[in-house]
Symmetry: C2
Subunit: 325 residues, 2 copies
Amino acid sequence: MKIHPMWREYPALQTELEQVLTLIDQNITTNNVPVRDAILDMINAGGKMLRPAYCLLFSQFKQTDRHKMIALAAAVETLHTATLIHDDVIDESDMRRGLPSIQATFGKDTAVYAGDYLFTVCFKLLAGYASDLRSVQQDGKHMEAILNGELAQMSTRYNMAITIDQYLNQVSGKTGQLFALSTFLGAYESGNSLRFARNAQTIGLNIGVAFQLLDDILDYTASSSQFGKPVQEDMRQGVYSAPLILALREAPEAFAPYLSKRLKMTDDDAKAVDQLVRDHGGIVKAQELAKDYTDTALTAIEKLPDMPVRAILSQLTSSLLNRQS
Amino acid sequence: MKIHPMWREYPALQTELEQVLTLIDQNITTNNVPVRDAILDMINAGGKMLRPAYCLLFSQFKQTDRHKMIALAAAVETLHTATLIHDDVIDESDMRRGLPSIQATFGKDTAVYAGDYLFTVCFKLLAGYASDLRSVQQDGKHMEAILNGELAQMSTRYNMAITIDQYLNQVSGKTGQLFALSTFLGAYESGNSLRFARNAQTIGLNIGVAFQLLDDILDYTASSSQFGKPVQEDMRQGVYSAPLILALREAPEAFAPYLSKRLKMTDDDAKAVDQLVRDHGGIVKAQELAKDYTDTALTAIEKLPDMPVRAILSQLTSSLLNRQS
């Protein structure tokens, strides 16, 4: 079991995140050895565990049963892992979290069932630990919104007319809703009012969108500076993100010859697109957009009750959304 | 919308099954057109709808809110369809319900997400209409058991030493548990006691296992008589079912040269295996096993309260488990 080093600064949270991993391990009870190994490898590969972390943090505004909150944090991490595994099947990705992806190592069949199995583990944990049906209903709505985000993204692949609003809707779905579910569950299930939990949910949504925006920006800034050439696997697969979309609308005719090549795009083509994105202000504009969401989240966090966890939320969110890699 | 002609004999049930289909249609709200079309094509392809039918029948021992029961019946059909779609991805099946499968028509990506999307619709329906958390917890357990059945089947592919108990465990999982969930939900959610609902669950499990056994027997008897030659796609893919398993243990050395060819098995090899299965009594023994499960289910049905629905359950189960095609 390996916890991401970013949690060393928060030892109490780190201990609980370790308990989340242990509980997930205990819930992977299938006798199918490849599937079990595949899942456990991935769970223990040192992912950031941001979603369970936010769930646990938002549960600290009340004194509450920690085992229950750890189980719900495990449920959101399980759901997140299930979506990653199925995304890798669809993108035919060979790597995930620095390791070969499940579908690369064990094949597509194992990956499809491993994802499905994790969905059922998530379902079992949510149903087993939620305090009432409302909470489970809320989970169902979030899960549908997450899938709708994925599906919307799939249906706009290679669409050069994609608008920034369409992109933001997709990101709100696929990333935002899972963060929103995490903060909602943490707040609501620890005994806060529904009003407080809805506020937590909105904060989670904004953090999630800002986080995804930043991830998409780093795909441009980190890849060209650190590796010397743009990789841009998503772009080649037709998944256009904020920096490209915001630059593309300024000069569609400049991008068209490259993007229309789709999977046949060469490394030089990708470099040219990378340069066009910079030339047309795509990165700066996307950074401004990310800053809007970050500021909205941080302002709302500042209005939370004045307890030690508020400072942690503020510090974590600030460093997460201002990271350079 | 097309309901299987078998329901013409049961007009009240047929009407409710049509409402189940309408409700599923209304719940497929994704904007992703290929995924929506793919799911609706499959839902409306005239599948037997046995699981929702049993759910609805077991809800008729009490006067209850029909809309709620239709929603729960829709949940089980949605879950069943999700598992079929993912099974087709894994088996790379080109046909399903007499139509091209989703993965053949729309590709693997659409099929993976279409299945995932249906899982979330199922989750939403269960959480939205279940009467309490216990029921949702029960759903989670069934879903895990279904996946464990699929996973166990996957892990014994091409295993010539597979025992009939292993096979029955897998069938109890992948088919039995979904029937058991259907009858449990129908009984419990319509206001019967937990004891009554557990009995319904056991009946559902036995019906499900008998149904799968019969399906596996018909793969041998129907294919050779109706199409002139054995197809045996499952066997070539290493999924060994009761007739083969029961014959194989009598004369493993006779089967080995053919089965060891795996996917390279020719049509003549498949014919030879088909004949060996018959020669070693595989079909007769599997029929005896199916009869055991059928009789157990029918005997338990006879002990249910003497209401009109009992006669329907008895007649339906009897004809379903004695069908010739």
